[in-house]
């Protein structure tokens, strides 16, 4: 029995009380996944990422969302937000807080949304991420049960962030979940959506999420993906974005945890004036493996994209970055910038990076850059002449390296959390309090 087939056995285990067209789509996903199988290193898109740990793993679907307040508090962020919580993929009404949603905004679990209006939701789901994108999206289509559906009406400005938490518990046996996230941002609306993946120490689950974000004319969406899974968790995600005229999408893809993490981020700029911004940061250590694949399709003239990904690698960790920009024929007046910088802190860490450009129009300004190196010794020296010891100097410079991405973050809770995590992971393990003091002193001087 193939690994793919073993995964699909779960299909039989589920109750089937869903509309026939949903069942049919599930079957199509299953058939596609079985035909494709798990990707191997011979697939260009998976050249550097070995998914055997997933293929050979044994996972079951969770059927409860039990997680007490204390355990949840240890995972979640203290944010004043509209909150939707899933535990191992199962919706938890107790932990969620959707009390004061403004008019014109709906935030609900997928099952609820489907029950009330399966035509409206079902039609949108899968429009951007079909079964052909990758074997994992096909698997998701076959097995997905739950997820988050966010709909923002025309012209609505949502003040508080919409905070979706996917908590991964330390279970006796490994669980898997295949959540969907759907964000439909109406014309001229403005919102912030956070996907937060947090795992308890010792959790060893497999998450395979597919997100779709649709921006109508003039919509503005800030999208955060903060991934803090446990060091045993396996995480595969793809985020698909579609942008209408004059819309603006800003992505923050922040990866700190996980044993094996793969994120695909794809944006289609379909009308003039659309702008997309990709900000990425990953910090990996031990034997962590993080793979980011990004793609921007400039399908219309006068579109803009800007990408900045930074990686910090320690121990025997491995990072992969593949950024691609495609400018379609006749998409003139394009600006596309892409940058990837990596900092290697250990001789056994490895980074594989490939910034790609595919350009079929001539009136374009496109550039990309990729650098890999170590901390600037002159900068270390400069700090030491100001009485900062070497370890502290290196720590500060590493934080500053991450800072170029973190400075763009507009939610202080997230900035602080990531900086704290980065500081805590630094090889020297210096005290962050000291560090902040030094940094304040420097700012004053």
């Amino acid at each position: 029995m193939s690994a793919a087939h073993a995964f699909l056995q779960r299909l039989g285990e589920r109750a089937d009380d869903e509309p026939t067209w949903v069942a049919a789509r599930r079957q199509a996903g299953a058939a596609r996944f079985e035909a494709l199988g798990f990707p191997t290193k011979r697939d260009e898109a998976w050249k550097y990422t070995d998914v055997r740990r997933i293929a050979e793993g044994e996972f079951t679907l969770a059927d409860d969302a039990e997680l007490d307040e204390a355990r949840f508090a240890a995972l979640g962020m203290p944010l004043d937000a509209h909150r939707l919580v899933f535990v191992d993929g199962v919706f938890s009404a107790d932990l969620s807080d959707l009390t004061d949603l403004p008019d014109g905004v709906s935030v609900e679990p997928l099952t609820t949304a489907m029950r009330t209006n399966h035509e409206a939701i079902g039609g949108a789901i899968g429009r951007l991420a079909g079964v052909d994108f990758s074997p994992f999206t096909a698997l998701n289509v076959a097995l997905s049960e739950e997820g988050a559906v966010v709909r923002i009406g025309q012209g609505v400005v949502v003040e508080k962030p919409i905070y979706v938490v996917f908590a991964s518990r330390a279970n006796e046996s490994a669980r898997m979940s295949h959540p969907r996230v759907l964000v439909m941002a109406g014309a001229r609306s403005q919102s912030t959506v956070i996907e937060h993946y947090a795992g308890e120490a010792g959790a060893a689950n497999f998450t395979n999420v597919v997100s779709e974000v649709m921006l109508e004319r003039g919509a503005i969406v800030d999208h955060y993906k903060l991934q803090e899974a446990s060091s045993e968790d396996l995480h595969v995600a793809s985020i698909h974005v579609e942008q209408g005229r004059d819309s603006r999408f800003t992505s923050f893809n922040l990866n700190l945890g996980g044993a094996l993490v793969r994120t695909d981020l794809v944006t289609d700029l379909n009308a003039q004036g659309a702008e997309t911004n990709y900000n990425g940061l990953f910090f990996v250590q031990g034997r962590q493996h993080v793979d980011n694949h990004t793609l921007v399709n400039h399908n219309a003239p006068n579109t803009f994209s800007n990408e900045n990904y930074k990686g910090i690698l320690n121990d025997r960790a491995r990072g992969v970055f593949n950024g691609k920009v495609i400018v379609k024929r006749d998409s003139q007046q394009i600006e596309a910038y892409q940058n990837n910088a990596n900092l290697l802190l250990s001789d056994r860490a490895e980074i594989d990076t490939k910034p790609e450009l595919e350009i079929y129009a001539d009136d374009v300004k496109c550039s990309h850059g990729a650098t890999t190196g170590q901390l600037d010794e002159e900068a270390v020296f400069a700090l030491r002449t100001r009485g900062i010891d070497e370890q502290m100097a290196r720590g500060l410079l590493t934080l500053a390296f991450a800072g170029e991405v973190m400075d763009q973050v507009r939610l202080p809770v997230i900035t602080e959390r990531v900086e704290r995590a980065v500081a805590g992971k630094l090889p020297e393990r210096f005290n962050l309090a000291d560090l902040v003091e030094v940094s304040d002193a420097l700012e004053e001087a």
Binding site: R329, E350, E358, I359, D362, H368, A370
Partner: protein, 480 residues
């Protein structure tokens, strides 16, 4: 089929081959062990060479055509190609320049190629016209004095079997890739250079001056070995457009640099790119690799690629010796329906290795062009350093320019930088030139030549001048 049966079958065909075709001058189209035995026999090769070729052929049979390149062409029928034909007889060639395509002559005129060379390039029977024989003789004497061996690869296999056996396939093994395997099985010509220890080659070597250069063949094999502290600069190809009946060209070039050796390899490639629709152009599928085997050795590739319907070429450096250096300078120009997928690989294995990649791509018309490169830093390559810059210039809105740079970095002391830009010729630059009375076409040429300057200055003098002219010719009709 059981391997034993297969073996028997193979053996049978093989013996037949030996008897039948020996006397004939060409083989009919098709490729089997028979053909290979015929080629080997025709070249008077020793037994081991034939074995080596057959080994390559058997590996080739198990391989499939690579499909990862950003290229589009119909599948090649390898059984429709004739793998050996004797040099053309003098009476078959055009007897004078009057019989040559006037378009070709026009191009020679623009490139400023001397009259007597035009005849040679156009394939005119040259014995009376060209004084290359005497030139070559003087060169040969000079080289012999220095101890440099420079001859055809066939001659080398006969005259210097130990050297060839030691190095052939040591950089590009027979089964390296589909086209290299094919080349290893059927190569019919090419050059061999050996520069002994401590010798600085007294002149730039060029295939152009080799006596049999007129018939380079479609499966060329070049092997250059530079012994300790030796130096050589090698020029391949020439700027004049060359016509060839053979559509598929699958060459292999191997360079070996021992301790403190220095090899500079320059190419100007201007094969026939096909007609307006891209029909009939050359497929140029080349494997070029240099091995910096010794400490402090250096290999530098410079290429100007303007011809061929399809170019698939990645001159690479294996930087094994401590502090060895690899360089790659490239200008690729595509126009019409041309396609080029080219770049380099720099594999940093030894400590303190350094590499530089400068690639300039110019796409015009309906052409497509890709830079594809790999910079790999192994865990032992302490303090390795790479700088890569690849820029693309687009002329017209029907062409494409693509960049696929791979970086695999496994050492924290390594510093690797990659930059790439894609843009078109600035309207303001053009306007500036035109406001000073420079025609649009001249202005474009000027700007393009400026764009390529970093690479042209790496070319040997004689090539650099011609390369500029060549660029202008290739881009003709791209503007306006």
């Amino acid at each position: 089929m059981a391997s034993q049966e297969m073996e028997e079958l193979v053996q049978r065909e093989y013996t037949q081959g030996f008897v039948t075709d020996i006397e004939s001058d060409t083989v009919p189209p098709g490729l089997d062990e028979n053909t290979i035995a015929f080629i080997s026999n025709k070249k008077g090769e020793p037994e081991w060479m034939l074995e080596w070729r057959l080994e390559a052929y058997r590996q080739w049979l198990t391989m499939t055509t690579p499909s990862w390149a950003h290229l589009d062409y119909p599948p090649i029928d390898y059984q429709a190609i004739s793998y050996y034909s004797a040099p053309k007889k003098q009476e078959d060639k055009p007897q004078s320049l009057d019989e040559v395509d006037p378009k070709l002559l026009e191009t020679y005129e623009k490139l400023g190629i001397p009259l007597h060379e035009r005849a040679a390039l156009a394939g005119v029977a040259v014995d009376a016209v060209f004084d290359s024989v005497s030139v070559t003789t003087t060169f040969k004497e000079k080289l012999a004095e220095a101890g440099v061996i420079f001859c055809s690869i066939s001659e080398a296999i006969r005259e210097y079997p130990e050297l060839v056996r030691q190095y052939l396939g040591s950089v590009v093994p027979q089964g390296d890739n589909y086209f290299a395997a094919l080349n290893s099985a059927v190569f019919t010509d090419g050059s061999f250079v050996y520069v002994p220890e401590g010798v600085e080659c007294p002149m730039e070597l060029s295939t152009y001056f080799r006596i049999n250069a007129a018939n380079t063949g479609q499966f060329e094999r070049t092997l250059i070995v530079c012994d300790k502290r030796a130096q050589v600069s090698y020029l391949e190809g020439c700027t004049a457009p060359q016509r060839d009946e053979n559509q598929l060209h699958a060459a292999v070039v191997e360079l070996v640099a021992l301790e403190d050796a220095n090899i500079k390899y320059s190419t100007v490639q201007n094969w026939y790119p096909g007609d307006e629709d891209g029909k009939g152009g050359i497929y140029n599928f080349v494997t070029k690799r240099g091995d910096c085997r010794g400490d402090r050795s250096k290999i530098s590739w410079t290429q100007v690629e303007t011809g061929s319907a399809i170019t698939w070429k990645y001159p690479s450096c294996m930087l094994r010796g401590k502090d060895s250096v690899g360089e790659f300078y490239s200008v690729a120009v595509t126009n019409g329906r041309q396609q080029a997928d080219t770049g380099t690989k720099m594999i940093h294995i030894g400590e303190g290795t350094r590499s530089t990649i400068i690639s300039k791509g110019i796409a015009a018309g309906r052409s497509d062009q890709a830079y594809r490169g790999l910079v790999k830093v192994g865990p032992r390559a302490k303090n390795a350093r790479n700088f890569t810059q690849c820029d693309s210039l687009l002329i017209g809105d029907r062409c494409g320019a693509h960049t696929f740079p791979y970086q695999e970095i496994g050492n924290s002391s390594a510093t690797v930088e990659h930059e790439a830009t894609t843009s078109k010729i600035g309207e303001d630059q053009l306007f500036y030139c035109q406001s000073r009375g420079i025609s649009e076409e001249d202005a474009v040429n000027m700007i393009v030549n400026g764009f390529c300057k970093d690479v042209f200055q790496e070319l040997p003098m004689e090539f650099a001048v011609e390369a500029e002219a060549l660029l202008n010719v290739t881009l003709e009709g791209a503007v306006g």
